[in-house]
C-alpha cells in the first residue's frame, strides 16, 4: 500500500452535470480499492439533470469508513472540471493548503445565456483559484481532447493530470487496468490510455 500523507485524504471532483465527474470519481475510487485503501465516494445528488452543479466527494483512509461528504474546509485536493464550479466548491471546502487542478473551459448555464445572470470574468476566476490554494495546475483538458478528436477524452486527460501530480496514492497501472475492463473496444482503450498519458505529462513535468 502506498503511503497516505493524511488520514482521511479528502478529494473533490467539481463540475457540471453531464461532464462525467461521477464516472471519474468512481474510477478513482475503484483504483483506490485495488491498491488496498478504504474509499468512500459520494455520488451525484439532487435532480440528476444535465447542467446542474455536481461535486463528487472521495474520502481515502487506510482502514476505516468516513462520511460521504467532506466536512467544511477539509479538502486536500480539488479536481475542477469547470472554473466557476471549482470556485464554488473551494468556497465551501478549500483551505490554504488545498491543491487544485482546473480545466479552464467554461460551461454557461442557460440563465447566463438568457442574460438573467452573469458569469464572472474567467481570468478573475482563475486568479482567485490560484491565489487561494497552495498549488494549482491549469489543465486545458477540453482543448487537448478536441485535438485528440473527441471532447470526451477531457475526463481521461484530467484523470492523467491528477495522477501526474502524485497527490493520490494510486499508480497509472491501476487506472489502466480499470480502463481495460471498461473499454471493451481495443481502439477506444488505446485512445484512452494515450489521453491518460498525455494528462500525466501535463502535470508531471511541473512537479
Amino acid at each position: 500500500m502506498k503511503p497516505l500523507p493524511k488520514d482521511p485524504l479528502n478529494i473533490l471532483v467539481a463540475g457540471v452535470g453531464g461532464q462525467g465527474n461521477v464516472m471519474l470519481a468512481q474510477i478513482i475510487g475503484q483504483a483506490l480499492v485495488m491498491e488496498g485503501f478504504f474509499a468512500v465516494v459520494g455520488d451525484t445528488f439532487g435532480a440528476a439533470q444535465r447542467g446542474g452543479s455536481v461535486a463528487s466527494h472521495i474520502r481515502i483512509s487506510k482502514d476505516t469508513e468516513y462520511s460521504s461528504i467532506v466536512p467544511k474546509g477539509q479538502a486536500d485536493f480539488i479536481l475542477g472540471m469547470e472554473p466557476s464550479e471549482t470556485l464554488r466548491v473551494m468556497g465551501q471546502y478549500a483551505n490554504p493548503a488545498t491543491r487544485v487542478i482546473v480545466n479552464p473551459r467554461v460551461v454557461l448555464p442557460p440563465t447566463v445565456i438568457s442574460g438573467a445572470d452573469t458569469y464572472p470574468d474567467i481570468n478573475e476566476v482563475l486568479a482567485a483559484i490560484e491565489k487561494h490554494c497552495s498549488r494549482s495546475w491549469i489543465v486545458n483538458a477540453t482543448e487537448q481532447a478536441m485535438n485528440l478528436g473527441n471532447r470526451l477524452y477531457a475526463n481521461t486527460i484530467l484523470m492523467g493530470a491528477t495522477l501526474g501530480t502524485g497527490i493520490l496514492p494510486i499508480g497509472r497501472d491501476s487506472v489502466v487496468e480499470i480502463y481495460k475492463e471498461r473499454f471493451a473496444d481495443p481502439k477506444l482503450y488505446r485512445a484512452n490510455v494515450k489521453a491518460l498519458d498525455l494528462g500525466i505529462s501535463l502535470t508531471k513535468e511541473s512537479c
Binding site: L32, F45, S67, R88
Partner: protein, 650 residues
C-alpha cells in the same frame, strides 16, 4: 465491479450502497423481488434483474409499491424469500396492505427495503419512514454504511422468518448512492420450491395458523402482538457489530445515534479530539429499541445527545424507555431536536454534529483560517446558479412552451398542474413556470377532479393536469375513473416519453420489455382511457403548431375529462438507440439580426435550451455543438427562420 453474483467470499469490492443491498439479498437466497422505481432506491432491482435468470430469481417492476408489496407477500406465503423495494413515498402507497399483512404475518422471510431521502436530495418531500415500523409493529434495521447495508439485508430475511413478520431495512440517499468498500460473503445454495400449504388459510377455524384465538379477525391482532413480542429476543441476538458502544465508561456526553448519522458523529468526535470524553452508542436495530444496552448506558452518563435525521425517533423512544426505568433518569439532560440542538429537517453532516456537541460541552472549532474562509466564500458567490433545466432535445420543453402559448391565446386564466417526474420541472423556470402544483404520484389528476367540479361556484378557468407515462399506470388511473364518472371538466395530459425517465429510464406497463428483458404485452394508454369513454387525442410535442391547435380545441370542449397524450421518446433514450442526432443545427448569421430583430431574443432568453448560446460580441444566437441534441425544435421558435436544421445523411 465484477458481476454482483460473483462467488468470492472475502473479496473487497467498491460497491454502491444499493448494489451492496442487492448483494445482501443474494447472500440470503432471495427468490422474488418487486418494487417501483424511486430515487434513491432505483438501482437495487436492476442490479438483481441483470443476474436473476442464472440464479433462479424473479425480479420485476410493479405498477406501484402496494402491488409490489402484495406480490412479494404472495411469494413469501408460498415459501420463497422475497423483498419489496421502494422509496419513502412508496411506503405511503403500500401502507394499507402492510397494515393488513402484519395481521396475518408472512411465511418465508420477507424484507421491506425503504430508501429515505433526507435533504431531500431528489424527492418532492421529506419523510422519516422509521415511524411506520413503530406504527405497524415490525422489526427495523438501520445500516450506517454499505457494508452494513449488505450484512443487515441478509440478516433481515432471517429476522423476518423467525418472527413471522416483515422486517424493514431503512437506508438513505447517502448510503444507497455512495460507493464504499464492501467485503463479500458466501452465496448460498438454496433450493427454491414454491408451494402454498393448506395450513396457510387465514380464516379457517382450525387450520388457520394465525387465527387460533377465536377465529376471523378477533384472533389476528392478538396474534400479531404475540409475534411482535418475540422480536425483541430475536434482535437481542443481533450480530454484535450492529449495536455497540464506544468511548469512556462514564462519558461526559453520550451520543445515541443510528444509521448514517453514526458516521457523522464518529467523524465529528475525531475532528474535535473528544473521543476520550464523549461516548457513542450506535444502534443498528432501532425498533423495537434494544432496551438492555440503552438502559445500561443511560445509567452511566448525565448528558445525552441524539444524532439522527428527520424525526426524533430514537429521541422519543429512548425518553419513553427512560421514563419507565425504576432507577429514574432525572439526573440526565437530554439534547436533540426537542432542545433545538439538532434540526428536524434535511440531512445531517459532520459540521452540524460538531456545532451541537460544542454547544453542550463548550469549546470552539474553526475548520480553516477565518480570514481565508470569508474571502473564498465571498469569491465563490460569483459562481452563477445552475438551476434545473430539461435536457437539450427533451420533448417536454416544446410542450410546456406550447401550453404557455395556448393558455395565453385562450385567455381565461387557464393553468396546469404537474406531477412527479421530469415534468415536475414544468413548475420551474425550465418549464416557463407552467405547473402550479406538484404533490404525490397521480395527484394532479386527483386535484383536477376537484377543480373540474367548481363551475357551480363560478369557476371558469381551464385546467390541464399532467402525469407521466409511468405515473399514469402507478396511481393516476383511479383519479381518471373518478373524474370521468363524476364528469369533472379538465384536460388529463399523459406526458409519454416512453420511459420512467427521471429515475433512470426503467420500463413500465406501457412498454413491451420487462426489467428482466422479457417481452411483455404493452398496455395502451389510449385504450385504457377510451375504455372509460374519454375523448382521447394524441400529439407530437415537436410539432408545436399542431399541438397548440389540439390544445385550443380541447380547451373549447367542456364535456368532462378529455385526454391528451403527448408522445415523443425521451432524448436520452433516443440518443442511446439511434446514436446520431436527427438534425445538424446552425444559425444563419445573415438572417439572425440579434437585438435589432424585435424578437427580444426569443430563442436564448425565453426558450432557453442549453444547446442555444448567445454570442455577445457578434450579437447573434449560435448553436453550442457540444450541448445541442439536434432535435430541430428551435428552428420553429425563431420568427426570422434564422435557425436552420439540416437533415443528416443516412
Amino acid at each position: 465491479m465484477t458481476d454482483i453474483d460473483v462467488h468470492a467470499p472475502g473479496r473487497v469490492e467498491l460497491l454502491l450502497g444499493n448494489e451492496a443491498i442487492a448483494r445482501g439479498a443474494l447472500e440470503a437466497g432471495v427468490g422474488f423481488i418487486s418494487g417501483y422505481p424511486g430515487t434513491p432506491s432505483s438501482e437495487i432491482i436492476p442490479t438483481i434483474a441483470a443476474i436473476a435468470k442464472r440464479n433462479n430469481i424473479y425480479a420485476e417492476w410493479a405498477a406501484n409499491e402496494k402491488v409490489a408489496m402484495e406480490a412479494a407477500a404472495g411469494a413469501s406465503f408460498s415459501g420463497i424469500r422475497s423483498m419489496a423495494v421502494m422509496k419513502q413515498n412508496g411506503i405511503n402507497v403500500a401502507v394499507d396492505f402492510i397494515g393488513n399483512l402484519q395481521m396475518t404475518g408472512i411465511k418465508a422471510g420477507m424484507v421491506l427495503l425503504v430508501a429515505d431521502d433526507p435533504g431531500p436530495l431528489s424527492s418532492s418531500n421529506e419523510e422519516d419512514t422509521r415511524i411506520v415500523a413503530k406504527w405497524m409493529d415490525f422489526p427495523l434495521l438501520e445500516p450506517c454504511c454499505a457494508q452494513e447495508a449488505k450484512d443487515m439485508t441478509k440478516w433481515a430475511f432471517e429476522v423476518s422468518e423467525q418472527c413471522g413478520l416483515i422486517c424493514m431495512v431503512r437506508t438513505v440517499s447517502r448510503i444507497g448512492h455512495t460507493r464504499a468498500n464492501v467485503k463479500l460473503g458466501e452465496l448460498p445454495e438454496v433450493e427454491k420450491k414454491a408451494y402454498y400449504q393448506d395450513t396457510w388459510n387465514m380464516y379457517h377455524p382450525t387450520k388457520g395458523i394465525h387465527c387460533t384465538v377465536g377465529g376471523f379477525d378477533a384472533g389476528l391482532h392478538p396474534g400479531k402482538i404475540k409475534k411482535f413480542a418475540t422480536v425483541k429476543e430475536i434482535l437481542a441476538k443481533a450480530p454484535q457489530e450492529f449495536n455497540w458502544y464506544t468511548g469512556p465508561d462514564e462519558p461526559e456526553l453520550l451520543i445515541i445515534t443510528s444509521g448514517v448519522a453514526y458516521i457523522y458523529a464518529k467523524e465529528a468526535l475525531k475532528i474535535l479530539k473528544l473521543e476520550d470524553k464523549v461516548g457513542i452508542l450506535k444502534l443498528g436495530t432501532t425498533w423495537p429499541l434494544p432496551e438492555e444496552i440503552v438502559a445500561k448506558h443511560l445509567r452511566n452518563t448525565k448528558k445525552i445527545l441524539f444524532v439522527e435525521e428527520l424525526e426524533p425517533f430514537l429521541e422519543r423512544n429512548v425518553m419513553e424507555l427512560a421514563a419507565s426505568l425504576p432507577s429514574g433518569t432525572r439526573h440526565i439532560n437530554f439534547y436533540g431536536m426537542r432542545s433545538g440542538h439538532m434540526r428536524g429537517y434535511g440531512d445531517v453532516n459532520v459540521d452540524l454534529v460538531i456545532d451541537a456537541v460544542l454547544k453542550i460541552v463548550g469549546g470552539s472549532y474553526e475548520p480553516r483560517d477565518v480570514t481565508y474562509g470569508l474571502e473564498i466564500e465571498e469569491l465563490a458567490e460569483a459562481a452563477p446558479a445552475r438551476p434545473w433545466e430539461m435536457c437539450p432535445g427533451c420533448p417536454y420543453r416544446p410542450f410546456f412552451w406550447t401550453v404557455k402559448t395556448a393558455l395565453q391565446i385562450d385567455g381565461r386564466d387557464g393553468f396546469s398542474l404537474v406531477d412527479v417526474g421530469c415534468y415536475t420541472l414544468g413548475a420551474f423556470n425550465a418549464g416557463y413556470w407552467q405547473g402550479r402544483t406538484t404533490h404525490a404520484m397521480g395527484s394532479s389528476f386527483g386535484v383536477a377532479c376537484g377543480l373540474g367540479k367548481l363551475e357551480q361556484f363560478g369557476f371558469s378557468q381551464p385546467v390541464m393536469a399532467m402525469v407521466g407515462d409511468s405515473t399514469f399506470f402507478h396511481a393516476s388511473i383511479p383519479a381518471l375513473v373518478s373524474g370521468t364518472w363524476n364528469n369533472a371538466n379538465f384536460i388529463a395530459v399523459v406526458m409519454d416519453n416512453s420511459a420512467t425517465a427521471m429515475t433512470g429510464h426503467q420500463p413500465h406497463p406501457g412498454l413491451s420489455t420487462t426489467v428482466m428483458g422479457d417481452t411483455a404485452s404493452a398496455i395502451s394508454t389510449e385504450a385504457v382511457c377510451r375504455s372509460m369513454g374519454c375523448r382521447v387525442e394524441v400529439c407530437d410535442p415537436f410539432d408545436m403548431e399542431a399541438t397548440k391547435n389540439t390544445i385550443l380545441d380541447l380547451l373549447s370542449d367542456d364535456s368532462g375529462v378529455k385526454v391528451l397524450i403527448v408522445r415523443r421518446l425521451c432524448e436520452l433514450v433516443r440518443a442511446r438507440v439511434e446514436k446520431k442526432p436527427p438534425f445538424k443545427m446552425h444559425v444563419d448569421p445573415e438572417k439572425c439580426i440579434g437585438e435589432d430583430c424585435g424578437c427580444a431574443r426569443l430563442c436564448t432568453r425565453m426558450f432557453h435550451c442549453p444547446g442555444l448560446m448567445w454570442d455577445e460580441k457578434a450579437g447573434r444566437a449560435v448553436i453550442d455543438e457540444v450541448m445541442c441534441a439536434g432535435c430541430g425544435v428551435c428552428a420553429d421558435i425563431c420568427p426570422k427562420g434564422a435557425i436552420i436544421k439540416e437533415t443528416l445523411q443516412e
